[in-house]
């Protein structure tokens, strides 16, 4: 049955709204700040065969993994009846991790199974060896929270026994009890509304609209993909630190191949699963990888639904960190591996879209790629044991765009409405005192367009003796993963630090708050990405999420924009000069001539410090002949002529890098520097110079424009035959 466009629009809008009502019910009933303010939940409507009809606008991966849960439910359940609600948090059934509890319910109309309804919520604690259930100390699955597959409502009858089982396994039973009811209540609301729609429009029309909306979205999506250039793009992102006490570096490799109207993502080369909880399942990797298709390609114009899964294939090697097998632990994987799969996917898609005239404007290299989440537990008001994730990590910066700066405090790419809580609400719920929460200058990656800024926060125990912290930061305490593109530099890393025995008595009584770390007195320690411990009454916890990466060579940034950035505190005067070559007069106006000369000097310095491969230093003339087609590849690099006989050259000076079959990067001048070159908030543990990573700038040997900047693992550099850089620093 084909539904006419009018009925289609009427019914589809109604379905969207029913799902949204499910979401609002959850937000009103939940007691979890992660759900209500972080919007870390998802609600979905699905076809009878578990295809996603309507995923809502909250945490996307919760819904794009729920289809797997429904399929597994159909395989596992002994019976599926009208009025049933199943509950599971098992990552090997499809849940993102043990905290993400899914309920799914078959929807029947007049005895016939028509659809599925479901929602997922992040519970504050579901047991396991670490408070908050992100088990950063676990080395296998069986040390983590228990995994359930239960029927919480049987033919309309709520099971107190099942509820009891779930609630009793939490350190925060009161919170979990209300969250269970919120989930069941939300399903109830959606089912009631669906019933009304079916009464009004009939089974045939409603199911046809559901299928048609997926098919139509798929057709549109394929059209868009066809318009993008065919080709192959690669990236790598890294995890630094897989568990408490380990700074192990884990590598994720992603290759995107695009041919015709299909996207093929290939994670070959990604490291094997580890004896720590950062691993994740194939289902979650798929969801993280395909999310940028929705964010960047669908925009608000193509419906988000199962169509995305039809236009993309994701290959994830079995046994890798991204497709682990039991007994691999997985509880932290959702904010480590799936975020980084999303980051890697965003980066390869941005490279692909850079080569398209039509879609270049949608390029965005990164979006707060590390989730620097910390759980705080302790004794709160009225002697009650309380705990939760602080929310400041949701203020990370988004990557720059090809036409504008990245959003300051843009939040997560996987959930654009994941909000920071008011400080007062945090202080109300947890026994903490905030000393500051503020913008972090120089945290946006330098570029022609600057990456978004992040925020930095300092907290300490308040009205309690001590607090436990559990930091499950994705990564970014070494390299940043805050990728730039087209010559843009990475933004700030993702760092948590502790100051022991700070001079809190004086600071609190005068409220003379130091700027960042210095001035608090006591002992400062920058932490590895996974860490835990206790904050005593004079200890501070200071942390920041990553910034966004830049787009384009920062020496091409309009000096006026840099001046405005200095005035509003986004960039310091020092960084304006070092990263952007901007000289400001005493009254903070741009010294035009001084700037011109400084930029010339810095470009010469770049060139003189860069290594050029034999034979590549010759400046060839690349003006081409006649009417050869010119195709944009990425910022400052274009291809002239066809794929077989053409060549790749610099857009600025027409220096020819290589033939069209080769990569400009392999023939560029290359400079290696400490990570601090990108900004003061990278590799803070090593004063900006990590023993594991260095910054690699690829530039035109002729005019010196930088067209790519990477954070490269030293070990890889050695394999690639790159010279080893001498390191002076040792970890602080």
């Amino acid at each position: 049955m084909i539904v006419d466009p009018i009925t289609f629009e009427v019914v589809k809008h109604r379905l969207w709204q029913i799902n949204d009502e499910q979401a609002n019910a959850i937000r009103t009933m939940s007691v979890s700040p992660i759900v209500v303010e972080g919007n870390d939940f998802g609600t979905g409507l699905f076809t009878k065969d578990a295809e996603i009809i309507s995923p809502g606008a909250y945490m996307l991966i919760h819904v794009t993994t729920m289809d797997t849960i429904i399929k597994n439910t159909m395989a596992i359940a002994s019976e599926i009846n009208d009025g049933d609600v199943f509950l599971t948090n098992d990552p090997f059934i499809g849940a993102c991790h043990q905290n993400d509890v899914a309920v799914v319910s078959p929807f029947f109309y007049e005895g016939e199974h028509i659809m599925w309804v479901g929602n997922v919520m992040h519970y504050a604690d579901v047991a396991g060896m670490d408070e908050g259930s992100f088990c950063i100390n676990a080395d296998n699955l069986y040390q983590e929270a228990p995994r359930y597959f239960l029927k919480i409502v049987d033919r309309g009858k709520f099971s107190n026994e099942v509820e009891r089982t779930v609630v009793t396994n939490s350190r925060l039973p009161d919170m979990v009890a209300l969250d269970v009811r919120a989930q069941v209540g939300a399903v109830h609301v959606a089912r009631k509304r669906l019933h009304e729609v079916l009464e009004e429009h009939g089974v045939e029309t409603v199911t046809a609209v559901a299928e048609q909306s997926i098919a139509w979205a798929e057709r549109k999506l394929r059209e868009r993909i066809s318009e993008l250039p065919d080709g192959e793009w690669k990236t790598q992102v890294y995890i630094d630190g897989d568990r408490v006490g380990s700074d192990r570096i884990v590598r994720i490799c992603l290759r995107l191949e695009k041919k015709g109207d299909h996207l093929y993502f290939d994670y070959t080369g990604t490291d094997p699963q580890v004896a720590a909880s950062i691993n994740t399942t194939e289902n979650v990797t798929n969801a993280g990888t395909t999310a940028p298709i929705q964010a960047l390609l669908c925009r608000g114009e193509i419906d988000w639904n199962s169509s995305v899964k039809r236009v993309a294939t994701v290959y994830v090697p079995e046994g890798s960190v991204l497709n682990c097998r039991p007994p691999a632990a997985v509880s932290v994987g959702v904010i480590v591996c799936s975020s980084l799969a999303n980051a890697a996917s965003m980066h390869v898609m941005s490279q692909m879209m850079s080569g398209s005239e039509k879609y270049r404007d949608l390029v965005c290299p990164s979006w707060a790629n590390s989730i620097n989440a910390v759980n705080i537990f302790g004794i709160g008001r009225r002697g009650k044991y309380v705990g939760n994730v602080l929310s400041d990590h949701r203020g990370g910066g988004a990557g720059a765009r090809t036409f504008g700066d990245g959003f300051d405090h843009g939040g997560f790419a996987l959930c654009p409405v994941s909000l920071m809580a008011d400080v007062e609400n945090q202080e109300w719920k947890l026994p903490v005192l905030y000393l500051y929460r503020k913008q972090l200058p120089d945290s946006g990656g330098p570029g022609k367009f600057r990456g978004g800024m992040t925020a930095v926060t300092a907290v300490m125990p308040h009205r309690t003796d001590r607090l436990m912290w559990k930091s499950q930061n994705t990564s970014g305490a070494d390299q940043s993963n805050a990728l730039g593109i087209g010559g843009g530099y990475p933004g700030a890393g993702s760092q948590a630090s502790v100051v022991r025995n700070a001079d809190t008595e004086r600071i609190l009584s005068t409220w003379d708050i130091p700027e960042y770390y210095e001035g608090f007195g006591g002992d400062l320690k920058h932490l590895s990405s996974k860490s835990d411990g206790f904050l005593e009454s004079s200890d501070l916890y200071i942390y920041h999420a990553p910034g966004g990466g830049g787009v384009g060579d920062p020496f091409h940034r309009d000096p006026e924009r840099v001046r405005v950035d200095v005035l509003k505190g986004a960039v310091t005067i020092e960084m304006a000069r070092l990263a952007y070559g901007i000289v400001l007069a005493a009254d903070l106006t741009v010294d035009v001539e001084g700037t011109r000369q400084e930029r010339l000097r810095l470009v010469e310095k770049r060139k003189s410090e860069a290594n050029v491969r034999d034979g590549d230093a010759v400046v060839a003339s690349g003006n081409g002949t006649g009417d050869q087609p010119i195709r944009f590849v990425i910022e400052y690099v274009e291809q002239i002529g066809d794929d077989e006989n053409g060549m790749v050259r610099c857009t600025e000076c027409h220096h020819v890098y290589c033939s069209a079959s080769e990569e400009a990067r392999d023939h560029a001048a290359v400079r290696y520097s400490p990570l601090r070159k990108a900004g003061p908030w990278l590799a803070e543990r090593w004063a900006g110079d990590s023993p594991n990573f260095h910054l690699v700038e690829y530039l035109c040997p002729s005019c010196g424009v930088v067209f790519d900047v990477l954070e490269r693992l030293q070990a890889e550099a050695l394999l690639l035959g790159e010279p080893k850089r001498e390191l002076a620093a040792t970890p602080q």
């Binding site: 019910a25 960047l296 959003f407 405090h409 843009g410 409405v417 400080v423 202080e427 925020a455 409220w511």
Partner: protein, 703 residues
């Protein structure tokens, strides 16, 4: 003769309603004069006085009340033409309003389709730039205890710096100031002594509730619009006084009440967007006299469709109000939910789907049929093509519509690509926009646990009467009412409004059966009452003239969203404790279904609210005599015209001229009632009756 005057300034027209002591209503309009809105007000009054065959001076001298809905505050905000505001806050939190809770600064107040467009959803520019924000060393904690005392020298320094920067208004928001306002008071005193009359808005006064970002924004927005608004109101008061008006004029607030000019400095933020809320007040009034407890008030104009809900006689309240993109506020206001569905909403296709909105042709270039350069087909164009609108008789014939151009545009942009006839496409556009309107109403009712079928539906604003029966029927609503004064409904709401003082105070308390809790609970209400009564007295109103309404915002411990419950019990005692949970869980289950509540879970009272209402004097609106036996209805018939609707196919609708319809007349669909200010479509199976108030009341023909 005594007159009661309401004037509402809108974007295009300034509307005036005058009620006399016999309850007779007259109304008129004048063009709005955005550069000097007082001029439009005076012109409208002059027009209305002429209808009464008298002079403005006479009307004003005999007026007992002048209530005014103004857009001065809204426009100052939307056009960013408010005061230069400085912000004083606690050291360490100077960036609170810049960070804007991260993504909230991008996504709040933006339609969902737009937020899904990641790259193009920009952050809102903060109202106060970083250069005009100063931190003060001081800190209070969650219990209101002082951690670090405030230092007057710091305050003076900050105030002097801001004054040197040229600010003409200062907002103050310190951490936890709603639990201990002493530090903010110190700052107010300092500005009072060295500020040369600079306006100051304290967050502990304008929004004493938890959440520093929202509280700061409320103070900022208040400080931003107050100076301009105050000078406008003073100017208008003088003009009215010069023409003989003897009383303080009253200004409409978005909480549905009016305030006195002396309170503008404190309540400026509540004046924003008050016009549409005034319409709701009028709907509430008619609901009451017509015997409807539950009323849906719908208003469709050129760009948007807005819905307000009155449940059990009381307007629903907005829980998460915002005044602009990225600007949440925490001042109590009536809930009015809108979507971008108006006469100007553009219909389009990407080759498969037929979509309407969210883009709008607005007033300029407007629909294609206006012939003002619009090329994209709109809802209004569809209405012309369907025959619902008469091209030669649009708004009393003041404007000719180009039907051929509307057809061509629909053919080219929608019907052609979708391989449909123009008529089918136009009917589809009409149905889709109407379905969206029904969905919005469904959302605002069912999400609060209400059943739309238990409501009467009011339709006003230029465009809604052409759609009302369609969306009303889709929701199973039985009574639909197009008010006689629908074109000036907000001005009427001004006349009918009461003076309200609304106070709230967050004082989070854990509910437990202890004397401590009972004392704290009663103390909170007593403090509020003392403040209310002192402000009421300062406004020249006697304590015996007001009545107090108490409310509580309650939630399960740990939740983030509260339910508002009424508190009728007076002082709390062990005997009445149970009432808190009973009222709360009753609402909770109505909303989420039986079994959703958890009676062993502890409760928190978060906010105490008190409203002082001074009922204003106003005569009952008079009824006119009703015609018997439908006598004379044929005189109103001016012909028939073909109308096409998807549900009914081709119809021949009888066209009635509203000016010739009299109270008591009943007519049956298919019919069109043509008014000078709007058009009512009555489909087959429905009848319309003109009641004694000359409202058009539409319902299904039974049997």
């Amino acid at each position: 003769m005594t007159y009661y005057i309401g004037v509402d300034t809108g974007g295009t027209f300034t509307d005036v309603v005058i009620l006399d002591d016999k309850g007779t209503i007259i109304f008129d309009k004048a063009l709005s004069t955005p550069d000097n809105p007082a001029l439009g007000v005076m012109n409208a009054l002059t027009n209305a006085a002429a209808l009464l065959n008298t002079e403005v001076e006479t009307v004003l001298a005999d007026a007992a009340r002048f209530a005014h809905g103004t857009t001065v505050a809204t426009n100052a905000l939307i056009n960013r033409r408010g005061a230069k505001v400085g912000l004083i806050t606690t050291v360490g939190f100077e960036d609170t309003t810049i960070i804007a809770r991260g993504p909230m600064g991008r996504t709040l107040g933006v339609p969902i389709e737009q937020t899904l467009d990641y790259i193009y959803t920009e952050r809102a520019e903060p109202l106060v730039p970083k250069a005009l924000i100063r931190g003060i060393r001081e800190r209070v904690d969650l219990e209101g205890d002082v951690i670090a005392p405030i230092n007057r020298a710091d305050v003076e320094q900050a105030v002097k710096e801001l004054l040197a920067e040229g600010v003409d208004s200062i907002a103050v928001c310190l951490m936890w100031s709603f639990r201990n306002r002493n530090h903010e008071d110190v700052i107010k005193e300092t500005i009072g002594s060295i500020g040369n009359g600079t306006h100051v808005s304290l967050s502990s006064e304008v929004a004493p509730v938890i959440g520093e970002f929202e509280r700061a924004n409320t103070a900022i927005v208040n400080a931003y619009v107050a100076p301009r608004l105050a000078s406008y109101i003073n100017d208008l008061q003088e003009r009215l006084g010069a023409q003989g008006f003897k009383w303080p004029l009253q200004v409409m607030k978005n909480s549905g009440g009016a305030c006195l000019p002396s309170r503008i400095g404190r309540e400026a933020v509540s004046i924003i967007d008050s016009g549409p809320v005034a319409g709701l007040v009028a709907a509430q009034y008619f609901g009451k006299i017509l015997g409807y407890d539950n009323v849906l008030a719908t208003d469709m104009g050129g760009t948007s469709f807005d819905v307000g809900v009155i449940y059990r006689g009381e307007p629903a309240e907005e829980k998460m109000p915002f005044v602009d993109h990225g600007l949440p506020v925490r001042a109590p206001r009536v809930k009015e939910v809108g979507i971008g569905a108006g006469g100007g909403s553009i219909a389009w296709t990407e080759g498969q789907r037929l979509m309407v909105g969210p883009q709008s042709a607005g007033a300029s270039p407007g629909p294609v049929c206006y012939g003002q350069g619009g090329t994209a087909p709109t809802v209004t164009d569809a209405l012309v093509v369907l025959g619902i609108l008469d091209p030669d008789n649009f708004f009393g014939g003041r404007m000719k519509l180009d039907k051929a151009a509307a057809e061509a545009a629909i053919q080219e942009r929608v019907a052609g690509p979708l391989n449909m006839t123009v008529l089918e496409a136009a009917a589809g556009i009409y149905d889709i926009v109407t379905a969206k309107m029904a969905d919005l109403i469904r959302k605002v009712t069912v999400e609060s646990g209400y059943d739309p079928r238990e409501f009467a539906l009011f339709a006003y604003g230029g465009a809604s009467p052409a759609h009302v029966v369609q969306y009303g029927a889709a929701l199973g609503i039985k009574e639909m009412i197009v008010p006689h004064s629908s074109a000036v409904f907000s001005a009427l709401g001004c006349v009918l409004s009461d003076v309200k003082f609304i106070y709230e105070h967050s004082d989070p308390l854990y509910v437990e059966e202890t004397q401590e809790f009972i004392d704290a609970f009663n103390g909170a209400f007593n403090d509020l009452e003392a403040r209310v009564l002192s402000d009421v007295a300062a406004s020249g109103i006697g304590a015996d003239e007001i009545f107090l309404v108490r409310r509580l915002e309650v939630r399960y411990e740990g939740q983030f969203n509260e339910f508002t419950i009424p508190w009728h019990e007076g002082a709390l005692s062990f005997d009445t404790m149970g009432q808190i949970r009973k009222e709360f869980e009753e609402r909770y289950e109505a909303r989420f279904g039986q079994g959703a509540s958890r009676s062993i879970h502890p409760l928190e009272v978060i906010t105490f609210r008190m409203e002082a209402v001074k009922a204003t004097e106003k005569p009952a609106i008079a009824q006119v005599e009703e015609a018997k036996n439908n006598e004379g209805v044929d005189l109103a018939k001016v012909g028939t015209r073909p109308v096409y609707l998807r549900r009914y196919g081709q119809l021949e609708a009888v066209v009635y001229d509203y000016d010739h319809l009299r109270a008591g007349h009943t007519l049956e669909g298919p019919a069109i009632i043509q008014r000078r200010d709007t058009l009512i479509l009555v489909p087959p199976g429905y009848k319309a009756t003109i009641d004694g108030y000359q409202n058009t009341r539409i319902s299904a023909i039974e049997g």
